[in-house]
């Protein structure tokens, strides 16, 4: 079994009396897409926040490439190669597509402290940004403002931004949210190809996409992972059927 | 320094505090419900004081003057809400700051145009003037005790209003989810105008009450406005109880700092230097306090966490 790229061990987080996550352990291995599914309020958002570092855990440990990053900030984890996308697009609406993509390149290069030379004149950064745009198929709209993009294009740009970091692992928070069949198909193909770059932890509601893409699936219910396995294993799991369909055990 | 003097100074601090609360309550309510920074709140304070002085001069009745102050400030408040402020709710803080700054200019010069450049006369009524004896031999002005009482009562009423009445429920709902309460059939526009009028009336009342012991003049609102902002920021913007606590903290800090800091410095500086250094530090004290509190709790004592 290959060494996990990203792994969490015994993560806990509670808000008052509510336990959002309880003893969650999960890992993402090279070349795979590991999907996390679960009903609303199961703790998926909390888990993502704990993995990315925007929320401190009450207990547990997060490792990236075998290194403990539990106490690192979002920024540190990003620098170490953890890229994420947001469920609600977090893009600089007033700026162009290329400028947004440059931002990721800038972060990856880790040096925003240049004040006098134009950013777009930096060939190195620009190549990196354009490569990412090409990868997601946005190269033709690079000069457009984000505000003018369609919803689907914004979802693609979200992925492009993550790509510019040249990450070691992706965390994708409902990338298909709000997409129609066509857009969903496009993004599914894109993600499928991406796993060769870096493994993906995919949180998604679109079950067609999940069953198409996922190498493994974990089911999160009431803050706990009740089952992890391949698509077939999950389909057959009594615990999952129970959680979703309420069939007696 | 005698215990009597210390108690007297604490009373003074309380009195300043409750007056600041009258200002701050309106500001914080307006911010909490409508998300509006209203720099012109100090102008409503001034309007109240001028209306009170005019009515007291014409009728000789202090009570009528107070009623007139609240009415005038509320009317002025409704007027600017309908004409100007209403268009600012959807804008960012920057536009609000600028627009209400513009209102200050208009109000100040407008009042000067109507009432002239000289300060107006407004005095304490006979039945409230002079000192009373408190236990322990403290002589304390009756009027100031009344001010403390009025501030406390208004605080209580506001608390009841927001916690116990239908209107209060709407106001609190408006703070959290304005689309929802609009969907439930509450006329949000009327609600906003009403909240603004309440805030304005409180500012007008404060202006009139304070005007009787200070000078009623153009520009009297701005120093109070800044203090009131300090108060609501310390208390946490949008929180009535935060405004109350913040007002008392600011009132006590300002009063006691002004008295005790110079004396503190006298322990290790020569008298003249101590007096001026102490006074200088005293005038900066509340701002230092506010800075410190915000650094410790970036959304104030009772503010909602981001």
């Amino acid at each position: 079994m290959a060494e996990a790229v990203l792994s969490a061990h015994g993560l806990c987080k509670s808000f008052g009396a509510v336990q959002a996550t309880h003893d969650v352990s999960i890992d993402v291995r090279p070349g795979e897409i590991h999907a996390v599914i679960g009903p609303n309020g199961a703790g998926k958002s909390t888990l993502i926040a704990q993995l990315c570092g925007s929320m401190a855990s009450d207990a547990g440990r997060v490792e990236l490439l075998g290194r403990d990053v539990t106490h690192d900030t979002v920024r540190r984890r990003a620098q170490a190669g953890l890229a994420r996308t947001f469920q609600i697009s977090a893009l600089a609406m007033e700026d162009t597509v290329l400028q947004n993509a440059m931002l990721g390149a800038l972060g990856a290069a880790g040096r925003p402290w240049r004040f006098l030379r134009p950013a777009l004149g930096d060939q190195d950064l620009r190549d990196r940004a354009e490569a990412a745009l090409e990868r997601v198929g946005l190269q033709d709209v690079r000069a457009a403002r984000v505000a003018a993009l369609s919803h689907g294009q914004r979802r693609q740009l979200e992925v492009a931004l993550a790509l510019t970091l040249s990450p070691k692992a992706f965390i994708m928070d409902e990338p298909m949210a709000g997409l129609g069949g066509e857009g969903s198909k496009l993004l599914t193909d894109l993600l499928s190809a991406l796993r060769a770059d870096a493994p993906i932890l995919l949180v998604e509601h679109d079950m067609d996409a999940v069953f198409t893409l996922a190498d493994r699936i974990s089911v999160l219910v009431y803050g706990q992972i009740i089952e992890t396995g391949t698509v077939d294993q999950i389909r057959r799991s009594p615990a999952v059927r129970d959680a979703y369909l309420g069939e007696g055990a | 320094m005698s215990a009597i003097l210390i108690i007297e100074q604490i009373l003074n601090g309380l009195q300043l505090g409750v007056m600041l609360f009258l200002m701050a309550a309106g500001l914080t309510l307006i911010f909490g419900v409508m998300g509006l920074i209203n720099l012109a709140h100090g102008s409503l304070y001034m309007v109240g004081a001028f209306a009170a002085a005019a009515v007291a001069g014409a009728t000789g009745s202090f009570l009528l003057a107070m009623v007139a102050a609240m009415a005038a400030a509320a009317i002025a408040g409704v007027l600017i809400e309908v004409v100007v402020i209403r268009r600012l709710y959807a804008k960012d803080h920057l536009d609000q700051v600028l627009a209400t700054f513009a209102l200050i200019l208009i109000f100040s010069e407008g009042v000067r145009w109507v009432f002239g450049s000289f300060p107006l006369f407004l005095d304490i009524p006979d039945y409230l003037s002079g000192p009373v004896s408190l236990p322990g031999g403290i002589q304390y002005p009756l009027y100031r005790l009344v001010l403390i009482g009025i501030g406390m009562v208004v605080g209580l009423l506001l608390w009841l209003l927001t916690q116990q009445t239908r209107l209060g429920i709407q106001i609190r709902a408006g703070e959290n989810d304005r689309e929802m309460i609009a969907a439930l059939g509450v006329n949000i526009s009327n609600l906003y105008t009403l909240v603004f009028a309440i805030g304005a009336a409180l500012a007008g009342l404060a202006g009139a009450l304070v005007g009787a012991i200070q000078s009623v003049q153009v520009g009297m609102g701005e120093p109070v406005l800044i203090l009131a902002f300090v108060v609501i920021v310390i208390g946490g913007i949008g929180s009535i109880q935060g405004a109350f606590i913040g007002a008392l903290i600011v009132g006590l800090t300002d009063t006691l700092g002004g008295v005790f800091l110079p004396q503190l410095f006298r322990l290790f500086l020569e008298p003249a230097g101590a007096t001026s250094t102490g006074s200088a530090l005293a005038s900066m004290a509340i701002y230092i306090l506010m800075g410190a509190i915000l650094i410790w709790r970036p959304t104030g004592l009772f503010g909602q966490r981001a």
Binding site: L103, G107 | L98, A99, E109, F229, S276
Partner: protein
């Protein structure tokens, strides 16, 4: 509607043409007036870096304006009274040299901005507005009580400070200095907006959480913007003090902070030439309306209201096509 680039050039050309015309018809006061507008513009360009690019609504920029002013006042005061500025650790004398004064003004306001920024940027939104206001008030009250340098009376400097090779007392030459500095800072601002830093800062204003996940620190980006902004406004303060040959605590007042914000909004937030147009318009209004009526503040207030309510994007937004 005209392209923004043309507007920029047109405004700068007008700023040069008016004083030259004034020189020809011998109206030196007009030159002084334009110089005042140019210096206010510089202060506002400074604020615009924090406000326009970084989204930081600072109601305390008078702090830096005042620090720049007092840097000039204190140095020149010691030079004019022939007293040393400090005896320890080695004797430091005052100076009447503008470049030295500018350097001190920029350095001290940079340090102040760093300190204030470090503390204030922990907050955001209204709290940020108010904490910067609080810092302004602290400096204001401190300067009022600072008896050594005149307290509320301020400091008078009898002769304008010198610049090598120029006669600064000649209005047009002093104007030229201020205008050159304004152009230099505008150029810097234009470069900054397009630089990697500007790109990141711009994103940090719109989507801070995204910037963070790109491995960048919004806090540091905003802090640097705030510091640059404070330094520029500090430089403007030193020039303003030299224009008036006088400094006083009013340079620290919250009304001053408010006016600098007005310049920016009146002209157009985040537009390169916006603060320049705003400052020029303000000085013009002040001059014309002031002659019209004792109650001219009413008209000024009405005009400001009109801009906020009906002219989104300020004057630049009204006349120029969007940038790009």
């Amino acid at each position: 509607m005209i392209p923004e680039r043309w507007l920029n050039l047109g405004i700068l050309a007008a700023l040069v043409a008016v004083p030259i015309w004034a020189l020809v018809v011998d109206e030196p006061f007009i030159i002084t007036l334009v110089t005042r507008a140019v210096i206010f513009a510089l202060a506002a360009v400074g604020l615009n870096i924090a406000l326009g690019l970084g989204g930081l609504v600072s109601l305390g920029h008078a702090v830096f304006f005042g620090i720049g002013g007092y840097a000039m006042g204190i140095l020149a005061y010691h030079a004019q009274t022939f007293t040393p500025l400090a005896e320890w650790p080695f004797p430091i004398d005052g100076t009447k040299s503008m470049p030295v004064i500018w350097l001190v003004a920029v350095t001290t306001s940079t340090l102040a901005a760093l300190l204030i920024g470090l503390l204030s940027l922990r907050t955001s939104g209204v709290y940020f507005i108010m904490i910067t206001l609080a810092f302004g008030q602290m400096f204001y009250y401190f300067s009022i009580s600072w008896a050594q340098y005149g307290g509320e009376d301020g400091l008078s400097i009898y002769v304008r400070n010198g610049f090598p090779g120029l006669n600064t007392l000649d209005p047009i030459q002093f104007f030229a200095i201020c205008f050159a500095l304004l152009c230099a800072v505008l150029g810097f601002n234009a470069l900054l907006a397009r630089s990697p830093f500007g790109l990141a800062l711009n994103a940090a204003r719109q989507v801070p959480h995204r910037v963070e996940t790109m491995g960048l620190s919004p806090f540091r980006l905003k802090l640097v913007a705030f510091v640059i902004s404070g330094a520029v406004t500090g430089l403007a303060g030193a020039l303003f003090a030299d224009l008036n040959r006088f400094v006083s605590p009013t340079m620290f007042s919250w009304q001053m902070s408010g006016e600098i914000i007005i310049f920016v909004i009146l002209g157009g937030v985040a537009r390169l030439i916006g603060p320049v147009i705003g400052a020029a318009a303000f000085v013009l209004l002040e001059h014309w309306l002031g002659g019209l009526s004792d109650y001219w503040h009413i008209y000024l207030g009405a005009i400001l209201l009109g801009v906020v309510l009906f002219a989104r994007g300020g004057i630049v937004g009204l006349v120029a096509r969007a940038h790009g």
